[in-house]
């Protein structure tokens, strides 16, 4: 039953992508920008968790909490300083600014914490349980469980709370929501805060799975999660979840059955095929342009 264990590992990897992709998709849905610095927020989160665990000897939950707090603040600060002045600017200008922020975070991390990679301590016990014939590590189970919890909480938040409906209103029509008395700037800040907090959760899972932390660690998972968000239809929260899981499963299967080196090519190839069949992603809304 190799198949089952690959499937579960794929779900584990996909869960990490899904959590990161949620950050991309929420920011895109509301601010209509591709936040290329999102991957680097993950990197910062990993470093914070790493130092909280090793230098300050905090227990694991506290370390995760610290990472979440720092990333949330970081996300809001980045939004205020770099993106907010560009609200009315062309989207390419915002894209370049996001790239600048990404460079800034990567090189800042390199100066502060050196470019050599650090080994992330294994906090979650390395044991595994067997489901059927497949053995699954606790870490993978924890990752999948985290993703499900995050997804449920986020869906409840967006659909049941007042802030959540304000967010949905903003993503539909910013001007109209402003007229309805919604503080759009505040909503955008909250979106960035949530996205960055999710990035921190993903960062701890990511750093535990591949136990190393280095300044450019965020870029590849960032690109993959971005792909996952597009895959599911960018701007759609359930889409990011589904896209992330499918992407993870495809990646693990491609590695297991076809070729390790070509797995990236296969993942992106599938993305292209999906977009050709459904040009707005799996769960994306089709927007009809009025003439």
């Amino acid at each position: 039953m190799q198949f089952l264990s690959y499937l579960i590992n794929g779900l584990g990897l996909g869960s990490v992508y899904a959590i990161i992709a949620l950050g991309y998709t929420m920011v895109y849905g509301i601010a209509k920008m591709l936040n290329f610095a999102h991957g680097d927020v993950i990197m910062v989160g990993s470093y914070i968790a790493f130092f909280a665990l090793t230098k300050f000897g905090l227990p694991f939950p506290l370390a995760v909490l610290t990472a979440i707090l720092v990333c949330t603040v970081l996300g809001v600060v980045i939004e205020r300083l770099a993106y907010k002045p560009l609200r009315q600017a062309p989207s390419l200008a915002v894209l370049i600014t996001a790239i600048g922020v990404s460079y800034f975070l990567q090189n800042g991390a390199q100066i502060l914490w050196s470019s050599s990679s650090k080994v992330f301590p294994s906090v979650i016990s390395a044991g595994s349980i067997s489901i059927g014939a497949a053995s699954v590590s606790y870490l993978t189970l924890l990752t999948i469980a985290t993703c499900i919890v995050v997804m449920i909480c986020l869906t409840l938040f967006i659909n049941k709370t007042k802030t959540g409906s304000a967010m949905r209103a903003c993503s539909e029509d910013k001007g109209a929501s402003m007229l309805m008395g919604i503080n759009v700037n505040q909503i955008i800040s909250i979106t960035f805060a949530i996205g960055s907090g999710l990035a921190a959760i993903a960062s701890v899972l990511l750093a535990s799975t591949y136990p190393s932390v280095y300044p450019t660690m965020g870029s590849m998972p960032g690109i993959k999660a971005f792909t996952a968000a597009v895959f599911g239809g960018i701007g759609s929260v359930p889409g990011a979840f589904v896209g992330g899981l499918i992407l993870g499963i495809i990646e693990i299967f491609a590695k297991a059955y076809i070729s390790t080196q070509l797995s990236d090519a296969i993942v992106f190839g599938v993305l292209i095929v999906i977009l050709l069949i459904k040009p707005t992603g799996l769960l994306g809304k089709k927007i009809n342009v009025k003439v």
């Binding site: 895109y28 600048g100 690109i223 070509l262 040009p279």
Partner: protein
């Protein structure tokens, strides 16, 4: 929006002036640098940057055609560069025995690189150009990744028996005297460095000539019309996919030619050189230079390549400063208050000029 109006103003009397300025800048730069080279006052670091700068200028001009003129965000320009680079390296390696002179071999290799990249552009363009906006961007990103990962797994060797090709693993054995042209993740090693600055400058001039001729031709106007309003353009009978494809393929070929020159400038070249970051770097040159503005693209490419080198004395902080400069430029150029100030200044100048004339 600002870029678009700037572009349209090129059409008036400024049309010829804009063209003239960019050619003049390139030729003047060439003459100055040649004089400096002859007098030996250039540092070896600067000398080593000359050919890469011309390569990136050509690739940026190509990307500006795609992003600025055609209006499609392309995040995979480095992929086309790598196609051109590795094609040129292979062609040059194969022809090493027959065409011994450097320059003709370089030219043949660059042309082959450009043609192959153009073919890649056409094949990739078929699915890509069906999409729009950010979806198009992500698919070009995906293609860039796929091209990189394919080159990471391609093994090509050349010996007396002819060409050997294998995928994923080097299964073939070469005859004595044979040479590995591409070696998977290790890329191309032992390439003869036949690229030179003069050819680079000529390539830049050719790229400018092609892009300007395209911009001010019937097809160029069709491309811009399709960018500004797809539906309106379609309704007056412009074949959208064909015009977009034209821009995409020309852009890819220019990147291929740039890659070819780049590949033959280094003894070793790894596929990882042309990753997502390189595509982004070229995009930054284009956006900072101004969409649709070729002169701006040339200047911003040169400045942004030299900037980290000039900041070298700051050591670790140079890339940090580079990032800050990038963010600040974007914040300043898009600041409403500064924009209106600038507009009032320039309009006053224009009024003064009109009364004089």
């Amino acid at each position: 929006m600002k870029e678009k109006t700037a572009l349209f103003s090129l059409f008036g009397d400024k049309k010829k002036r804009g063209r003239f300025v960019s050619f003049a800048i390139v030729i003047a730069a060439y003459i100055i640098i040649e004089i400096l080279l002859k007098s030996g006052s250039l540092s070896s670091l600067f000398k080593s940057l000359l050919v890469p700068i011309t390569c990136y200028v050509v690739a940026s001009i190509g990307l500006n055609l795609n992003v600025g003129i055609s209006g499609e965000l392309n995040l995979g320009q480095a992929g086309f560069m790598s196609v051109g680079a590795f094609c040129a390296i292979c062609v040059s390696g194969i022809l090493a025995g027959t065409v011994t002179a450097g320059i003709p071999r370089l030219i043949i290799a660059i042309i082959c690189g450009a043609v192959l990249a153009g073919i890649f552009g056409f094949v990739i363009g078929i699915p890509v150009l069906k999409l729009q906006g950010d979806y198009l961007a992500i698919v070009t990103l995906a293609f860039g990744q796929i091209i990189k990962s394919i080159f990471m797994n391609t093994y090509i060797g050349f010996d007396s028996d002819g060409l050997h090709f294998s995928f994923v693993d080097s299964k073939f054995k070469l005859q004595p005297g044979g040479k590995m042209l591409l070696n998977g993740p290790m890329g191309a090693t032992g390439t003869q460095k036949i690229a030179n600055f003069t050819v680079g400058i000529i390539l830049v001039l050719i790229a400018l000539l092609i892009v300007y001729n395209l911009m001010f031709s019937r097809s160029g106007r069709a491309i811009m019309a399709a960018r500004d309003n797809r539906i309106a353009a379609e309704s007056v009978g412009i074949p959208i996919s064909r015009t977009k494809m034209l821009a995409f393929v020309v852009s890819a070929s220019l990147a291929g030619a740039a890659g070819g020159l780049y590949g033959l400038n280094y003894a070793t070249l790894v596929p990882n050189k042309f990753d997502f970051n390189t595509s982004i770097l070229i995009l930054v040159y284009v956006v900072l230079g101004g969409l649709g503005n070729m002169t701006g693209t040339i200047i911003s490419t040169v400045v942004l390549i030299l900037l980290p080198e000039l900041l070298r004395s700051l050591q670790d902080y140079r890339m940090l400063i580079y990032a800050v400069v990038l963010i600040l430029i974007m914040l300043v150029t898009n600041n409403d208050w500064l924009k209106t100030k600038w507009k009032s200044l320039t309009s006053r100048k224009a009024k003064g000029g009109a009364s004089n004339g």
